[in-house]
């Protein structure tokens, strides 16, 4: 009815090979992208700089981590450090006079090289042990950044990002950073959607399911595990550069602590492992639920005269936030993407209950 299709059946190969197979999905993507494009002119600037911009940048990070966790099945508890390496490397490169476009790649390469060194642990250990190895990476990187004044920027430990431009557009004001991040995010999203349709993506999936089974069918786990860490860390490093230039404008070590890593893992898991859409949904929930809940509680306290003490008023949103995450995961352990997919499957054949697949 809504999708004008009862079940999915194709008569031509090119239909089946499209990125979004149903016209309705294609339209939805076009409409959402068009709305994102005109958003700075449509909604208040607060929503652009305070919500959409972080949503876009964190989604890039979540997609990078999702390639590793959902795509290749390798857990990473130090992704915040990977982003930090990219941010510091690119900002130092820009301060040395490199343009942003190149500095971003420098950041990506720095993250990829260091990420692969620690990712090499994945060749020997799995699961919880790999979690510990990547956690060690987080602490080592934190330590190095804080202890080396040449990296952190002296006693103030705040490194300001020089004014820069991207493909001739000066990154300043409210709109330019948003469009730069949006463009890069769009490119990354297309890459992530396509990567699992490539031999690389399928090899990662094979490694994810069972590494020695993958090696029996001719997929080299050594190579693909390292490649997964390389690609994912490269994306993380690029995201770090975007984060520093478009959003933070001053970087300090505490921006890339374990909190960020845990936050990203939560985003990927709540959103849905291996799902690109899930990354966006997870970021939306984890990043903004505390802010929105905080404002709702504040509004309730102010408007309806609900007298709650300050400390409870500050902690109540956190309690609700925790409950929300538990609720979503109880409702659907496969994440928000699966909830979306359930709704979509229902609407696909509505008003009927089942259809031929």
């Amino acid at each position: 009815m809504i999708y004008r299709r009862a079940g999915i059946s194709f008569t031509r190969y090119q239909d089946e090979r499209q990125l979004w197979k149903l016209p309705t999905d294609r339209w939805a993507v076009i409409v959402i992208f068009a709305l994102l494009l005109v958003a700075p002119f449509l909604v208040d600037r607060l929503f652009v700089v305070g919500y959409l911009l972080p949503l876009i940048i964190w989604s890039m990070a979540a997609m990078g981590l999702n390639l590793l966790m959902g795509g290749a099945g390798q857990i990473h508890l130090g992704y915040g450090a990977v982003i930090g390496i990219g941010a510091y490397a690119s900002v130092h490169a820009m301060r040395a006079g490199l343009p942003f476009e190149l500095a971003m790649i420098v950041g990506g390469l720095a993250s990829a090289v260091i990420g692969v060194v620690f990712g090499a642990a994945a060749l020997r250990v799995k699961g919880l042990y790999l979690a510990m190895a990547t956690l060690a990476m987080q602490y080592i990187v934190d330590f190095v950044i804080v202890q080396v004044p040449a990296i952190s920027g002296g006693t103030q430990a705040a490194l300001s990002v020089p004014r820069t431009s991207f493909l001739g557009i000066a990154i300043q004001g409210d709109r330019a950073p948003y469009y730069v991040a949006l463009a890069l995010c769009a490119v990354l999203t297309l890459f992530m959607l396509n990567v699992r349709r490539t031999s690389f993506g399928r090899a990662l999936a094979a490694v994810r399911e069972k590494d020695y089974a993958a090696s029996i069918i001719g997929v080299d786990p050594f190579r693909y595990k390292l490649l997964a860490f390389w690609v994912s860390s490269f994306i993380g490093g690029m995201t770090g550069a975007v984060l520093a230039v478009c959003y933070y404008r001053t970087i300090s070590p505490d921006q890339f602590h374990l909190d960020l890593s845990i936050q990203l893992v939560a985003m990927v898991i709540v959103g849905g492992l291996g799902s690109v859409l899930g990354g966006f949904l997870g970021v939306g929930l984890i990043l903004f639920a505390p802010i929105v809940l905080n404002q709702l509680i504040g509004l309730a306290a102010d408007q309806f005269g609900v007298a709650i003490p300050t400390d409870l008023r500050a902690h109540l949103p956190l309690m609700l936030y925790g409950g929300l995450i538990m609720g979503f995961l109880l409702l659907e352990p496969l994440g928000l993407a699966k909830i979306y997919s359930n709704i979509r499957n229902y609407l696909l054949v509505w008003p009927f209950r089942h259809a031929r697949q």
Binding site: M1, I2, T24, W27, V31, L35, L42, V43, D44, R45, L46, F47, V49, G50, Y51, P54, W58, R95, V146, S152, G154, T155, Q156, A157, A158, S160, P162, R163, Y247, Y248, R249, T250, S252, P253, D254, Q255, D259, L287, P290, I291, N294, Q295, G298, P309, T310, D311, A314, H315, P317, L318
Partner: protein, 423 residues
């Protein structure tokens, strides 16, 4: 209504337009005689009770001044929110404050203040970074919109060293001073000033970093004891402070020779034990206790009238008084701004002019005479040393300032570095 594609699209468009309503409504509220101050602070993560007490003091003072008719005819409207020391949340809060027309932001968090600095400078919104943020923001020529309004950590360290020198008969030559600090940028901050002073005064400086957040410092303090320090400074915040004090007491250090920065309060003493810590010293930026006239006035006019912002027993504690101190300085800035330009328009530049003309302000004896100039945003860097006597902090010295030459050398070194980076 049938569920067609057109309806869904129309709905989405309406929802997108409706989403910006709350901000517009907030903007429309309030007359033109309102000065908006935003206080996004960390109530839940790291600073917790420090923020609660500090913010309580601020709100009580602002309530009192509003009751008296505001500052120069302007009412003060404050917006408090929790940023949990999380930078995306803090940036969102800052941008919301900016959209709502706030002219001053007080984030009370070092990482947040450091991250917001370029935005505040660009947007010309005054940012108060009391006991937090960049120490080099004391240099108003480079940071015209960032106001520490309080002695920075370099000043505090310099002043404490001067106190040690006075106590030891005018010379620290050959003495050992241990500096126990949390191993973060904040904890390491005083090191360059201490090193410069060690070279100048001839004392031996030994630094002992502990890993954040400082719940376990048992490995550090026996080493401190073995170093046989003449003086010990411990530099941290929150839980690290009480753990440090407990360990200092356990290792038998002479409490009269152990000293902290501003971050020590009655609440910390309750945790460690009021009697175990008698003699410990701290840097005091303002009078503590309920004796100051302004605290007495708050007690009768606000707390007595049932309008207090928090528990009454916190009134007059160290951090509560810091809050009153900073609120008084901010509102003095508003009063001065209203004097300079009575009809506004109220914006960041308007308040900036007011803050820059604060002269010899003492908040009825609560704080040392403070003068803010376009060059000096620290306000002179005066403070005093106070001693815990088991019940309260009693002053050991008068207001004084020391080693400002070394401090300003450091301030200019970093502020010129910041200026060079092209912000």
């Amino acid at each position: 209504m049938s569920l067609t594609r057109r309806n869904i699209l129309t709905g989405a468009a309406v929802a997108a337009l409706a989403s910006q309503l709350p901000v517009r409504v907030a903007l429309a509220q309030g007359g033109d005689k309102v000065v908006r101050i935003a206080m996004p602070m960390d109530f839940t993560k790291v600073y917790t009770f420090v923020t609660a007490e500090y913010n309580q003091g601020q709100r009580d003072y602002i309530t009192m001044m509003n009751q008296r008719g505001g500052m120069g005819g302007y009412t003060i409207a404050i917006d408090i929110s929790d940023h949990a020391n999380d930078q995306p949340r803090a940036i969102e809060a800052y941008e919301r404050a900016k959209s709502q027309g706030a002219v001053l932001v007080d984030p009370l968090s070092t990482p947040v203040a450091r991250a917001l600095t370029p935005r505040a400078l660009e947007d010309k919104i005054n940012m108060v970074t009391a006991f937090s943020g960049r120490s080099d923001a004391a240099d108003g020529t480079v940071f015209p919109y960032v106001f520490p309004l309080s002695p920075n950590y370099w000043t505090q360290a310099g002043l404490l060293i001067e106190y040690f020198k006075q106590q030891d008969g005018g010379s620290l030559d050959g003495k050992t001073i241990c500096f126990v600090h949390i191993d973060t940028p904040f904890g390491k901050e005083p090191l360059p000033v201490l090193e410069a002073l060690a070279a100048k005064e001839g004392f031996k400086l030994q630094a002992f970093p502990y890993t954040p957040p400082g719940n376990d410092q048992s490995a550090i303090w026996p080493q401190v004891r073995r170093a046989r320090p003449d003086w010990t400074m411990f530099w941290g915040a929150g839980v690290g402070q009480t753990v440090a004090l407990t360990e200092a007491a356990r290792n038998g250090l002479d409490m009269g020779r152990v000293c902290s920065s501003v971050w020590l309060s009655e609440s910390d003493m309750d945790v460690v034990g009021r009697d175990q810590t008698v003699g410990v010293l701290k840097f005091e930026p303002c009078v503590s206790g309920r004796e100051p006239q302004v605290i007495q006035e708050i007690l009768t006019e606000v707390v007595g009238a049932g309008k207090g912002a928090g528990p009454e027993d916190k009134v007059g504690t160290a951090y509560y008084n810091y809050g009153v101190m900073l609120a008084a300085l901010m509102l003095e800035g508003v009063r001065r701004a209203a004097e300079i330009a009575p009809d506004g328009p109220v914006n960041g530049e308007w308040l900036n002019a007011g803050l820059h003309s604060i002269t010899e302000f003492t908040a009825e004896g609560l704080i040392p005479p403070t003068t803010i100039t376009p060059e000096d945003h620290q306000g002179g860097g005066m403070g005093r040393v106070a001693r815990w006597n088991g019940e309260a902090f009693e002053p050991m010295t008068d207001w004084f300032s020391a080693n400002q030459d070394v401090v300003w050398e450091e301030v200019r070194k970093y502020s010129s570095e910041f200026a060079k980076s092209g912000q």
